[in-house]
């Protein structure tokens, strides 16, 4: 009987040759607040389904289901790729893309807004400027909540895309030396990516930053406790020739409590095609985007630029995640 159900699922989705693992069921109804909410098998199942969507196209597996996008902070890629994913799966989308557009601007409590969205939809994707907002929303909502960025804390679906991109372009993570460069103090994507690395275990990670933008102690203690092999350096030129992957982030201007501190570091690093002359032939450069000045346009035309490919994987990856969370397989 169990086997028959598996075949039936594959037929519905058109996933010829793919055997659904029990892990697919494990994600149903689950909140995704941190990448650490996922096991390695969960990641692999999401990637497998994203592959299928890329190869065989999308199906209307979420027809009749409604996604709430609750973006209390600006976003382009994350919000639009979630919306696109939901539409491609036959579902519909409600929501807002700024706090000003909601009753929060009139003084409504955040948790009351979440309760309302929860009653209108089947899943909530939330972005907020305060750390812990998605976790609080998940405590209040009966339907699953996906964290699309909470302050400087985490952005788990971006890390899923990052790992997926690395696997597509490099086949594995465990043999790689990876540099993470930029604002390691305030960039939430960095936290999520490093936490994901504790699951995928690269050979080595170099944390490359200005001394004022170093990774916060709590994150450092955590990745150390998980056995991640990492080293902090302040100059990309010291390690560039070793790197297989270079992940660049922008300085998170909006999270600096002190504008003077931002002014000190805003031009602390800049990657140019010229800098890349010393790198490995097959180095790939990733960036979660948007970029400001840290990644010069001259890099776009090099064979190393992989960030547009990375951005393009956002829709299939998020479609796979929505499918699995909403049990649409």
């Amino acid at each position: 009987m169990f086997k028959l159900i598996k075949i039936s699922i594959n037929e519905i989705l058109g996933l010829e040759g793919v055997i659904m693992s029990d892990g697919f069921k494990g994600l149903s109804g689950k909140d995704i607040i941190s990448v650490l909410d996922l096991s390695k098998e969960d990641f692999e199942n999401i990637f497998k389904l994203a592959d299928e969507y890329r190869v065989n196209g999308y199906r209307d597996v979420l027809r009749g289901r409604v996604l709430s996008v609750a973006f209390f902070e600006p976003s382009t890629r994350t919000r639009l790729s979630f919306e696109s994913a939901m539409h491609r799966l036959g579902g519909s989308v409600i929501g807002f893309s700024s706090e000003e557009a909601t009753s929060v601007a009139k003084g409504e409590k955040f948790i009351d807004t979440v309760r309302m969205l929860d009653s209108y939809s089947d899943v909530i994707v939330i972005r907020h400027k305060f750390e812990g907002a998605a976790k609080l929303a998940a405590e209040v909502a009966e339907h699953p909540v996906i964290n699309a960025g909470d302050g400087r804390n985490e952005h788990p679906t971006q890390a899923m895309i990052d790992i997926y991109t690395i696997l597509k372009l490099k086949s594995n993570v465990s043999n790689l030396i990876i540099g993470v460069m930029g604002d390691l103090k305030y960039a939430r994507v960095v936290n999520s990516l490093l936490y994901a690395f504790t699951i995928f275990k690269p050979k080595k990670v170099y944390l490359i930053s200005h001394p004022l933008l170093k990774l916060r102690d709590e994150a450092k203690k955590f990745i150390a406790s998980q056995g991640l092999n990492f080293e902090e350096v302040s100059d990309i030129n010291l390690v560039l020739n070793e790197l297989d992957v270079l992940y660049v982030t922008r300085v998170q201007k909006e999270r600096f409590p002190d504008p003077i501190e931002y002014e000190k570091v805003k031009n602390a690093y800049k990657l140019t095609a010229d800098v890349l002359r010393k790198c490995k032939e097959d180095l790939i450069i990733l960036h979660p985007l948007p970029r400001v000045d840290e990644l010069e346009r001259s890099v776009d035309s090099t064979k190393h630029a992989a960030y547009f490919k990375q951005a393009s994987l956002g829709v299939p990856l998020r479609a796979a995640l929505l499918t699995l969370i909403l049990g649409g397989y």
Binding site: I111, K135, K221
Partner: protein, 160 residues
């Protein structure tokens, strides 16, 4: 004759807090809001040999009995402590403290961009290692031991 016998005498009525992790006796007094000006006779012994802890502190307070809430607060900063209530030179009650895995509602998260600051909800901290560090379960801010003590004192408010 051991060093302990040389410097600690018995009390008639009051509380003996034994097996305090070495170096924390003064913090224990702070969270009990005892500054020394209250007329209690107090003995503080620090960094003495202990078979259980290698080194430990001891606090003896004559004329003061600890409430359940005070015992719970001591558990946060001195998780190995044993609290003996003494009456007429005899131990009439022995309390073994235990550190909770989570602390809700006692202290507020110091991170100004933690959602708990803005929604007016109780902060919950996960205790990471026996009374040494705690982490806000919402924003993941970690408190070191001194920060933790400082926040407890702040929450307890000014001494009455």
């Amino acid at each position: 004759m051991s060093v302990r016998e040389l410097i600690v005498s018995k009390i008639k009525d009051g509380t003996v807090i034994d097996h305090i992790p070495s170096g924390r006796a003064l913090d224990v007094l702070k969270v009990l809001r005892i500054s020394g000006s209250e007329n209690f006779r107090i003995a503080i012994v620090m960094n003495v040999e202990s078979s259980k802890l290698n080194k430990k502190d001891i606090v003896k307070i004559e004329g003061r009995f600890l409430s359940k809430d005070e015992t719970d607060i001591i558990a946060l900063i001195a998780p190995t402590a044993t609290i003996n209530i003494i009456k007429n030179f005899e131990v009439v009650e022995k309390r073994k403290v235990s550190t909770p895995r989570v602390i809700s509602g006692l202290i507020k998260c110091p991170n100004v961009t933690c959602i708990t600051k803005h929604e007016g909800i109780e902060t919950t901290f996960e205790v990471l290692s026996a009374g040494l560090r705690a982490r806000c379960i919402y924003c993941n801010t970690e408190l070191s031991y001194p920060e933790f003590v400082e926040l407890i004192l702040k929450q307890l408010g000014p001494k009455k």
